[in-house]
Amino acid sequence: MIVEILDVVIAGLLLGGIYALIAVGLSLQYGVARVFNISHGEFIMLGAFATWILYTTAGINPLISLVMCGPFVFLIGFFLHKTLFRSLLNSSPNMNIFESKSMLACFGLLFIIQNIAILIWGADHKGYSYLNVGVNLGGAVFAANRLVTLLYAVAIGTAFYLFLAFTRLGKAIRAAAQDPRTAGLMGVDINQVLALCFGFGAVMAGFAGALISMCYPIQTTMGLEYTVIAIIVVTLGGLGSIVGSFLGGFLLGLIGSIVSYIEPSLYMVVFYFIFSLLLLVRPKGILGK
């Protein structure tokens, strides 16, 4: 019995680590840059495929290629914001219109990125085996790569939190999240900060993708599934709350693990049910202001 409980809880935490990372990225993009990025999952897919290619063709360790893929995904996100979202921001009379417009533009991006990827890599499952050895945790056995994933997710999350809390740029980002106009008046280069945030969000997705590729088979159409999970987690944690998203990721991972244990096919139904209920009862999420 104890082993079973341990099994479910640890599986939930392992899943939650990835969810948390994905959600922090989305939360950053929406909370600061005000872009509700439906194409978030496509950046996860890009990260996963970049890691897969580096591992299968050049034999580069996924944990090292993680660091290499980061800047690559960051640049894509950064320039997307500099070009596409900046001009949308300039042409929108108010933030509500910008939010709708940018969300729809993200739909477009989703289809563009995903279908270019399908044209290049096809739609089959891909995968590789890395650190695929069992580790015994008090009776429950887990693959080592999944444990590494959790470790990395927590490390990246913590590092990013410290960055936001203690650096000058972090302070600028928090200021921009609260009130972009005033932050701009106080000397924050607001356009730069928003583009950086969008880039950071993309990096989180890229990292998550690299970690996912270590544990699960990957596919060019995998993006939307993770986007949906990120949206649920972000709603759970409160739109725009970074800490909320991080905790929400683990919470949803645990819920998912428990539901899977009881009735695996109800998994998605329960996710959407929680999500719908949450939006009705408490749209601000568990940590929303």
Partner: protein, 317 residues
């Protein structure tokens, strides 16, 4: 629209053209069976979804991603009761089922604003799709079900009928006090409320009316596919397509979405079986370009260039 505006020559001409088009469309199956009828049925399906979406979302600015949910409700209605009852009644019930769903959903959720509403409607679609899937696997023991097949001509005439009804309804709404109320909600909801518009009631009713047509269209189209399951009936693209088609066509005029839907459906017919990736790629690129450079869509672009052209003509004389 009152009688006085109908009497001006310009409106008479427009009316005459519309009548001719309608007669042509209605007699189309007589000129010969086959492909045009099938293609036009698909076009009408997307036109109905798009115009239905535009009735509610264009003036209010609430982006609904629920069309696939209403469409799918219609499809399932047709699959469940289609065998026992006359087809026209089935279609009406399909529409009514979606109408009721929209009424409940609308009453619960229309206080959510902006991005929350879009996200919720998307979540709702996925919740319904997954629940149907779960129910089918665990209680009926099968995945999906068969639908009574109808002839292509029957499908076509029903779609045409729904389309005409929808266009009349859309025009009436646009020119009534409800249309004005919707627009005022889109511009400034608080102000609309203070000037005495019953904001919640107007939103919920128009939302439900738009869902009625989507549901009716769904219950007609179900008979074309012979087999349906929750994946086909609640296919996500039925929610995204209307949004794109409306933006591409332009939402300022009612014929904008119609043109947008017609162009895209034709493109889909050409490309989707042979190059599905290319089609979806083009879809994405056009969506981004339309949002960036065509704020009023294709119709807006044409009107703009026409205006420039006529200004230049006047300047020359």
């Amino acid at each position: 629209m009152d009688i006085a505006t109908l009497k001006t020559p310009k409106n008479l001409i427009t009316g005459a053209i519309l009548l001719v088009i309608l007669v042509l469309l209605a007699t189309l199956p007589l000129y010969g069976p086959g492909y045009p009828v099938i293609l036009l049925s698909s076009i009408l399906m997307y036109v109905i979804l798009t115009v239905g979406w535009v009735i509610f979302s264009a003036p209010t600015g609430y982006i609904s991603l629920a069309p696939a949910a209403f469409f799918g409700f219609g499809i399932y209605t047709s699959a469940i009761i289609g065998k026992a009852i006359p087809f026209a009644v089935v279609v009406a019930i399909g529409g009514a089922a979606s109408f009721c769903l929209a009424l409940i959903v609308g009453a619960l959720t229309l206080r959510l604003r902006g991005i929350y509403f879009a996200v919720f409607t998307f979540g709702l679609l996925m919740l319904i799709a997954n629940s149907f899937n779960y129910y089918e696997i665990h209680f009926t023991g099968t995945r999906g079900r068969f639908v009574m097949v109808k002839g292509y001509d029957t499908i076509y005439f029903f779609m045409l009928g729904i389309f005409v009804l929808l266009m009349i309804t859309a025009t009436l709404i646009k020119h009534s006090k409800y249309g004005l109320a919707l627009m005022s909600i889109g511009q400034e909801e608080e102000a609309a409320e203070h000037t005495g518009v019953n904001v919640v009631m107007v939103k919920v009713i128009i939302f439900a009316v738009s869902a009625f047509f989507m549901g009716a269209a769904g219950s007609v189209m179900a008979t074309k596919w012979t087999y349906i399951d929750s994946g086909i009936a609640f296919y996500m693209l039925y929610s995204f397509m209307p949004v794109l088609m409306a933006i591409f066509g332009g939402m300022g005029q009612l014929y904008g979405p119609v043109i947008g839907a017609a162009i895209f459906t034709y493109l889909e017919e050409l490309l989707i079986t042979r190059f599905p990736e290319v089609y979806m790629l083009i879809f994405g690129i056009i969506l981004v370009i339309s949002i960036l450079y065509l704020p009023d869509g294709l119709v807006g672009l044409i009107q703009e260039s026409w205006k420039r052209f006529s200004v230049r003509k006047h300047a020359d004389t």
